[in-house]
């Protein structure tokens, strides 16, 4: 009997702060296994205490020989985040989840701590070399969104193809009646702009907000809610297990996603699969690939009063919200792991057994 193809998923681990990327690579590995591929996940933490740690992490990946294990060849490697794609393999496919953004599009913004120092400049240059090397030798490069593909082209001159996939709990999201709260899900950190939905509440007196997530901005946001006088209308949920999250989506009125330049963002897809429209901003990045103003949600300028106006509308127009949610559900339902896995395997010259 022919042995199933062996595929390694190469990913970066973030100990104690596993987020969407970690869930994604686990799910990718599971989906490969579910289709008869002998797949496994290799993860190495990305240490970021000092600049050289970034180079050292790439060196670790580059030093690995993953061409065979236990006397059997590895047929393909699917690498994902910086610097896992520095790994060497003759049949490497890269599915870029995101680059080291602080060195690229976030450089010069409050979200990057890179300065003009010689070491920071050299680190940025080295990251570019690592990206060029790791990606240009791949058999094919995919990006998880058009936004990420555009960055690869702009900063590295590398062509890639957007490849979407369903969100982590695909198959388990459920719809429910319109609730009485807007939902915000995500790490409470600067570039995700969790303050925007809070500030929007001050412009929409009837709206309530559920904030799911924790992060470095938590204390500041709670103080902000008090200062804005909206704290009584905000419910904070630092961590939600899967079932709680599914319930929160199903029971929401709409979902607010207000990051700046998000890579893809699962939240809009999760909202859609729960039948809820999404309120996002014109500079949100990845979410705009799914959220179409007036069709599947609201797209407004990144200003509290604009988000507030959209919230007021959402609390007045049940019929419109239901229609937006229905179209979002149809759009997100088009994504399937069958198609995604088929594309990745075909790029590696493999087939589903």
């Amino acid at each position: 009997m022919k042995k199933p193809p062996r595929v390694l998923v190469a990913a970066v681990q973030s100990p104690f702060s596993g987020g969407g990327a970690e869930r994604h690579v686990r799910r990718l590995t599971e989906e490969l296994v579910a289709r008869g591929i002998e797949a496994d996940l290799i993860q190495i933490p990305l240490i970021e205490r000092e600049r050289f740690d970034l180079v050292r992490s790439a060196l670790v990946w580059r030093s690995l020989d993953v061409t065979e294990f236990g006397g059997r060849a590895v047929d393909a490697v699917i690498a994902t985040r910086f610097p896992s794609y520095a790994v060497r393999h003759p049949n490497k496919v890269v599915w870029v989840i995101h680059q080291y953004r602080q060195a690229y599009d976030q450089f010069g913004t409050p979200w990057s701590d890179f300065t003009a120092s010689t070491e920071d400049r050299r680190t940025r240059e080295t990251i570019e070399v690592i990206d060029r090397l790791g990606l240009s030798e791949a058999r094919r490069v995919f990006a998880n969104s058009r936004t990420v593909a555009a960055r690869l082209r702009k900063y590295n001159g590398i062509a890639s193809e957007p490849l979407y996939h369903p969100p982590p709990l695909a198959g388990r999201y459920r719809t429910g009646p319109l609730g009485d709260y807007a939902l915000s899900v995500g790490r409470l950190e600067g570039w995700k702009r969790p303050d925007l939905p809070l500030r929007a509440l001050a412009h929409a007196e009837m709206a309530r907000l559920v904030m799911v997530g924790r992060g470095p901005e938590e204390g500041r946001l709670k103080r902000l809610a008090r200062e804005l006088g909206v704290e009584a209308r905000v419910r904070w949920i630092p961590a939600a297990d899967d079932e709680t999250l599914l319930d929160l989506y199903a029971g929401a009125r709409l979902v607010v996603v207000a990051p700046e330049g998000e890579d893809l963002g699962y939240v809009p897809l999760e909202a859609f699969l729960s039948g809820k429209p999404v309120l996002t901003t014109e500079d949100a990045g990845g979410p705009l690939e799914f959220v179409i103003d007036g069709r599947t949600g609201f797209v407004v300028p990144p200003r509290p009063e604009a988000l507030g106006a959209a919230l007021r509308l959402a609390w007045e127009r049940d019929d419109a919200l239901v229609a937006l949610g229905r179209r979002g559900l149809a759009r997100a339902s088009e994504l399937s792991w069958d198609a995604t896995i088929g594309t990745l395997l075909a790029a590696a010259g493999l087939e589903v057994p």
Partner: protein, 66 residues
């Protein structure tokens, strides 16, 4: 596990070459020193001159790889 001193030299040369491939320059002396320290820390009883020797090896290998 017993290791031959040649193993450290080989590791120094190989990893120096990879650093060069990844964009590290022989002039990035602080990084190369740190890297040499990592390798030297693997040696149970480092010879006093091992660190300096590894640094030179890694720099040379990085220069060649560029």
């Amino acid at each position: 596990m017993r290791t031959d001193p040649d193993d450290w030299m080989r590791l120094g040369r190989e990893s120096g070459r990879i650093l060069g491939e990844l964009g590290v320059d022989a002039e990035d002396t602080r990084w190369i020193r740190k890297h040499a320290e990592s390798i030297a820390s693997l040696a149970r009883r480092a010879r006093p001159n091992l660190l300096g020797y590894l640094s030179r090896l890694a720099r040379k290998a990085a220069r060649r790889a560029r």
